[in-house]
């Protein structure tokens, strides 16, 4: 569905440089702190910013040559951009109907009702949560084969976030072939959704792993100074100084459980990963 090869984009203080592939039916997550390059990655994939080097292909076609028909197969939610806030939902439905042959009007309004979005009110009067829900509903309104969602849960509380993730899960269950690329800086959102996860930091992919491998094999060891000294660092990906000693991120927690039964070892969440791996440069 998406193939990114040696994509490079240079800015004054930042450089994006990555390659990856999203096969059909895959649900992949991009995680990383704010400013890590998630949005720029998605914008390059969509051709909104032009790559300095490398290529981006969607549906096997260079993104520069994407046809209107190709674009009709995309469902998109941007983090800082949407339909003009001067429109209301009724107007948006009218526009979508003209844009997408597969637009499902009834379902669209049904979802709006379910998410308690008023259809006649101007979007600019919506709350952050309402706007976020609307963005996702729009992206899912026309049976898209490929969804690209940039931070669809940003700025929302847990309940609203779960609501959005549930809409997404339902869509994926109904459209078994659909692929999804989703970014978030709150990665626990992605653990229960994505097949694999890319950790992006400073414009580069720091780690790519299947979610269940991440959850099964990765872990955080909490060690005091003494344990830290004698710990075999072979399977340690990164560590960080803490008040009690060190937090170490490993991709082989079973190994440490067997060999250091006294150590405190927790299941690693992707958020730990961001915290520990993302800060590696600073030591």
């Amino acid at each position: 569905m998406i193939k990114v090869e040696n994509l490079k984009k240079r800015y004054e203080d930042f450089c994006l440089d990555l390659s990856f592939e999203l096969p059909k039916g895959r649900v992949s997550g991009l995680v990383g702190r704010n400013g890590a390059g998630k949005s720029t990655t998605l914008k390059s994939i969509l051709g909104l910013v032009k790559a300095d080097e490398g290529s981006v292909r969607i549906f096997g076609r260079d993104v520069k040559d994407l046809s209107v028909e190709d674009k009709q197969r995309l469902g998109i939610a941007m983090s800082e951009s949407a339909f003009s806030a001067y429109l209301n939902i009724e107007a948006i439905a009218r526009i979508l109907k003209q844009m997408y042959p597969r637009f499902e009007e009834e379902r669209f309004f049904e979802l709006c009702k379910k998410m308690s979005l008023p259809v006649r009110k101007q979007i600019k009067e919506f709350s952050t949560g309402m706007k976020a829900r609307l963005k996702v509903i729009i992206a899912l309104s026309h049976r898209a084969d490929l969804l690209l969602l940039d931070e669809p849960t940003a700025g929302l509380d847990v309940e609203a976030r779960n609501e959005i993730l549930d809409i997404l899960r339902d869509y994926l269950a109904e459209n078994e072939e659909a692929s999804l690329l989703i970014s978030s800086h709150i990665s626990s959102d992605l653990e229960g959704l994505c097949d694999d996860i890319y950790l992006i930091n400073d414009g580069k992919i720091l780690l790519h792993e299947a979610t269940d491998e991440l959850l099964d094999k990765y872990g955080v060891i909490k060690a005091d100074e003494a344990l830290f000294e004698r710990l075999d660092k072979e399977h340690i990906l990164a560590y960080r100084k803490e008040k009690y000693g060190y937090a170490l991120f490993t991709d082989a927690k079973d190994y440490y459980k067997e060999n250091y039964p006294e150590a405190v070892i927790e299941n690693g969440s992707i958020d730990d990963l961001i915290l520990i791996m993302g800060k590696r440069r600073e030591g």
Binding site: L48, V49, K71, L74, E80, A91, L96, M99
Partner: protein, 216 residues
């Protein structure tokens, strides 16, 4: 492209309050102005409204999302040019209606067929100005383009003043006008059409190029 058209219509006309204000101003102006001038006024009013949709599109970073929708960047420019023309025609027509109604109320003679050439020239002349506005706005964004337009008007005004100052120049212009006047009507129409088409094509090409090079 139809989708964009619907979007712009919604942006311009969804708000009833605004519509009432436009109508009120138009009627008010038609009492203030004599004769057919109201047609030029309404044409310009709706044309400017049409160009204004670009500001709505750009508001709050909205352009990125628009460019993700199933439209090409060329489609976007083409739609703006056509939409602008469509609204001008609508403006001219409503101007004619207002002109007729107001004339009836004031009990002064009027002729709709006689107002048609003026309407046509309003549409064509103003469309050139509006297309230039589109090209400038796409290139420089709504903030900067407002300043640009001011500068351009200033330059035109200055030129007009210069014209007044130099008798020689003035004479040359008069001679040109005289020449055009003496031209056969067919030739003159041809010249104007040619000039119009060349200008529109140039502005369109410039706008497309700006859009295609833009990052969002």
């Amino acid at each position: 492209m139809k989708g964009l058209f619907v979007k712009d219509l919604c942006l311009n006309f969804m708000n009833r309050k605004n519509m009432m204000i436009y109508l009120f101003i138009s009627v008010f102006m038609s009492f203030a102005m004599d004769g057919q001038f109201i047609i030029g006024y309404t044409t310009m009013l709706l044309g400017i409204l049409a160009v204004g949709t670009i500001s709505y599109d750009e508001f709050d970073g909205g352009m990125s999302f628009l460019m993700c929708l199933p439209v090409t960047r060329k489609d976007y420019v083409r739609e703006k040019f056509l939409y602008c023309l469509a609204l001008e025609i609508l403006g001219a027509l409503s101007g004619i209606v207002i002109y007729a109604l107001v004339s009836l109320i004031r009990n002064v003679p009027f002729s709709i067929p006689e107002s048609l050439p003026f309407a046509l020239f309003s549409i064509l002349g103003l469309s050139l100005m509006l297309y230039a506005m589109i090209a400038i706005q796409l290139k420089y964004g709504s903030e900067k383009s407002r300043v640009m337009m001011m500068v351009i008007y200033g330059v035109i005004f200055a030129l007009a003043l210069l014209l007044k100052q130099f008798a020689g120049l003035k004479e040359a212009v008069f001679r040109l006008i005289g020449f055009l006047d003496s031209c056969p009507a067919a030739l003159l129409t041809g010249l104007i059409a040619l000039f119009y088409l060349a200008a529109v094509t140039l502005l369109y090409k410039l706008s497309v190029k700006t859009m295609e090079n833009k990052e969002f």
